[in-house]
Symmetry: C2
């Protein structure tokens, strides 16, 4: 196994986990795409993060970034699209590469907690999370691309260069999509349908026939990201020590449930790393 | 009930709880005697409190104090010596006064977690935590006073003015005790013994016969402070939402177990208040 700990997520919980993993001198990789989680940097005013009174979300994000950069921690900006249990730990798929880690800490936030109806059913049978990985499968075909963030637009363009026809569903403001074979749909998908594989993306007022659909988002629904992970009401089930139902897998922050608060998130990031280190110690012992 | 929430403890968990109780506009009282918990202000260098890289414990304490003072939060400096379940909530004894609260959040730290052998047995039968409350019972008698902090020295002097003979056991450095009937013992008490009531304080190398003993410390052992509170390995048992086995009583920070970390403490302080507020909502509904 290449890494002791793989941390997934760039919010407050992920930052806390990364800082603690560094201090505890573990070999770790931290997947945190782009800037600190969107939610964090958009928060207007945070009054209850002890020690930093009345900071804006942007200031808090800057302060946290300053903290981890000062410790020479550098996140890997790839999006993890699958976590698989393998002998001795986990294999994480990010982009076209696989990363091995003995333990994994999921700091996925809550934005992605609820999958679209039918999403889970068609993963690998028409639904994909990675343009680079699966785009070639849809050469000359019709696809839908559901995108939650402007920073994935280059993946939309890439998919448009391969597919014949692309229904683009941007779930953010200020989209700029220039490809001529792209048709922009400004409505949220309600459901995925099909017999053996994905055939239709269903909206409130109709549907589009497709050969496949790409969901470009910063974090996958936990149960889709990691097969067999126990969830409760859309949150990852964790014990007091932030362990999940899968040995060696831990979770922290909003993805484990309310309150959705920065203090709670950094606390759990801290606990999760300490629990992971204890787990690693027992494994070696 | 006078207060919605009573918070006991002046460490990082207590500060976080007080800040959140204030933001959530609850009527609360916060018992935090003197400066921020001794342990916090003595920490040399804290590297893993996200957002405040490389602060000394003193700087972190100052920063937290600055935060709550900026919100016009003022702690009550009395030491709580008993929490009793009463109709509609809890009654807290501090000094000679009783305070009523619908919920209580215990942020007791870990220093006081382990009682002295026999301590629990003789509470109210020779063992006391409050000079002002019980001192008069020992007029002209022989007592022991075990003291963990210089700031309680005035209580020692008060007890010396009442008792005939006082064995003073200071568990801190730089004690200054002037009373002529005080005999300083520089050794830790191992055990309390007696038949129906306390008769002896036992040390490694002998014992002293006493009529009573005062334990002057910032925080009582959880099980002594609050009868019926479930503990596990000296820590308060809590669920994921920081609730204890007693309805309306929550706990946060080091007193709930490892890791003994500031981030974990502020996270739990946050969670505990949100859980208390939820509890209050259900009670009214």
């Amino acid at each position: 196994m290449e890494y002791d700990i793989a941390i997934i997520g760039g919010g407050a919980a992920g930052v806390s986990a990364a800082i603690n993993a560094k201090i505890l001198q573990k070999k770790f990789i931290w997947f945190a795409n782009g800037n600190l989680s969107k939610k964090l940097s958009q928060a207007e005013l945070v009054k209850n993060y002890p020690g930093l009174p009345d900071v804006t979300g942007g200031e808090l994000a800057w302060t946290l970034k300053n903290h981890y950069e000062g410790m020479n921690i550098e996140p890997c900006e790839k999006v993890v699209t699958g976590v698989y249990q393998v002998e001795g730990g986990f294999s994480l798929l990010a982009g076209n590469e696989a990363y091995d880690a003995k333990t994994v800490i999921l700091c996925l936030g809550v934005e992605a907690a609820k999958p679209i109806d039918g999403e889970e059913e068609f993963v690998g049978r028409g639904i994909s999370y990675c343009a680079t990985c699966d785009g070639f499968l849809y050469k000359g075909k019709t696809i839908a691309v559901i995108c939650t963030d402007k920073r994935f637009e280059h993946e939309i363009e890439y998919l448009c260069s391969l597919a014949e026809k692309v229904f683009v569903i941007p779930l953010y403001k200020g989209y700029e999509i220039t490809a001529k074979n792209a048709e922009i749909l400004l409505k949220a998908p309600k459901k995925f349908e099909g017999a053996r594989k994905l055939e239709r993306v269903v909206f409130k007022d109709g549907f589009k026939e497709v050969d496949g659909a790409f969901l470009l988002k910063g974090a996958l629904s936990p149960a889709i990201l990691m097969h067999g992970l126990k969830t409760e009401n859309g949150h990852i089930f964790v014990n007091r020590d932030c362990s999940t139902n899968i040995a060696g897998a831990f979770a922290a922050g909003d993805c484990t449930g309310r309150p959705y608060q920065y203090a709670k998130a950094v606390g759990e990031g801290n606990i999760a790393v300490h629990s992971a280190v204890e787990f690693l110690g027992k494994k070696q012992g």
